[in-house]
């Protein structure tokens, strides 16, 4: 099982808001495919899946604020 975490951003930017999950739990997903859309003060970002697998768990909901390093999902 691989954790999908919010990677480091610029210094002082320690959080982002989850705006959209591109996949649901149970979906097969390929490495590099857009997994979740996040918004910071500066822009909107798509976080790609770090590995191929099945999206096992989604730990945060659309609208949630998440911190750098926080686990957002698990892919197995």
């Amino acid at each position: 099982m691989t954790d999908v975490t919010l990677p480091p951003l610029a210094q002082g930017v320690d959080k982002a808001n989850v705006s959209y999950w591109h996949h649901n739990v149970g979906d097969a997903i390929k490495e590099g495919e857009d997994l979740v859309e996040l918004v910071t003060d500066k822009a909107t970002f798509n976080l790609p899946a770090p590995i191929s697998g099945v999206l096992k768990e989604v730990l945060v909901s659309e609208g949630d604020a998440v911190k750098v390093g926080q686990t957002l999902a698990k892919i197995g």
């Binding site: 480091p8 610029a10 822009a43 976080l47």
Partner: protein, 313 residues
């Protein structure tokens, strides 16, 4: 969290490969400032993932209060004599063959910080003659002899950003001057014919299309070779609001206009910044950039947004 209801096209991949973490570690360990971090640049993850960073020298506190900028405004401390050596070490550890150096504005210093630019350039040249050096200099309060000192250390590219159209200067760049900045670009060109010159503007601060085209013509009239055009993004609630989000088609139009009026290279797109893919821009105007000593790890996540935005290579 404030945001300006970003349009659909204002979206990037959030890249997170091993090189991103290593670049962050190297810069942090060496206490080297980057404009990437200080400006909260949205391209940071992408650039750090190719082990590319733009060094911010003369500390990280600025004496100006530009409305668009998130760099701390206060009284800066003394110039750090060890800063050039730390920059050189970062160049080595990152394996850079193309180095971009900019600074905060230091109106408190008699030389405006020109001496520190010279020291950094000279020390980088000591470790490698093949490394290309681009400097993005402040306006030195219009003192041409200070710019001459920097030019005299023979950087390959000298940039100075106009940042916005003339009408918006009092709002966007108080303490600076549109004509002063154009004069600086003109002076760099006239005093060093072989040096590539570069400037940049941000869109979305309230400028009109005609004013943008006017600014491009003004920049080109200095003999400037490269211009970058990007979308202003508000770094924080105390900065100027975004007045408009310019769509990618309009950026492409500005690129074509820039090429028509004679720029050798125009980088134009929502995420374009003056040092974003600076090595690519410089190669496009014929600068011979040696292959990097460090090979970034392949990542299928990597994507060049200047190409995606139609501002191409």
């Amino acid at each position: 969290m404030q945001n300006d209801n970003f349009p659909a096209w204002l979206k990037k991949r959030l890249i997170a490969n091993q090189d991103l973490f290593e670049t962050k570690e190297i810069l942090s360990a060496l206490k080297v400032n980057t404009v990437c971090e200080s400006s909260l640049c949205p391209n940071l993850n992408e650039c750090f993932s190719r082990r590319f960073a733009t060094f911010l020298i003369l500390g990280n506190v600025c004496t100006r209060s530009c409305g668009f900028c998130s760099v701390l405004k206060d009284s800066p401390g003394a110039v750090d004599p060890d800063e050039p050596a730390r920059i050189v070490e970062a160049v080595k550890r990152l394996g850079l063959k193309y180095v971009v150096i900019t600074s905060v504005t230091r109106d408190d210093l008699a030389d405006g910080g020109a001496g520190q630019f010279v020291k950094v350039i000279e020390q980088i040249k000591k470790i490698s003659t093949s490394v290309k050096i681009e400097v993005l200099i402040p306006d030195f309060n219009g003192e041409g002899y200070l710019a001459d000192r920097v030019i005299g250390s023979r950087p390959d590219i000298v940039g100075h950003n106009i940042e916005t159209v003339e009408r918006l200067y009092p709002l966007v760049r108080p303490g600076a001057g549109y004509e002063r900045s154009l004069a600086l670009l003109r002076a760099v060109r006239s005093r060093s014919a072989g040096t590539v010159t570069k400037s940049g503007i941000m869109l979305g601060l309230g400028e009109t299309d005609d004013e943008v085209i006017g600014a491009l013509n003004d920049i080109r009239s200095t003999g400037c070779d490269i211009v970058t055009i990007g979308q202003y993004l508000r770094p924080g609630q105390y900065n100027l609001p975004v007045k408009r989000f310019v769509d990618p088609q309009k950026f492409t139009r500005y690129k074509l206009i820039g090429e028509e009026i004679g720029f050798k290279y125009v980088a134009s797109g929502p995420f374009v910044r003056s040092s974003y893919f600076a090595d690519v821009y410089s190669a496009a105007v014929g600068l011979d950039i040696k292959e990097r000593s460090y090979k970034p790890k392949e990542s299928r996540h990597d994507r060049c947004d200047i190409a995606a935005s139609g501002s191409g290579r």
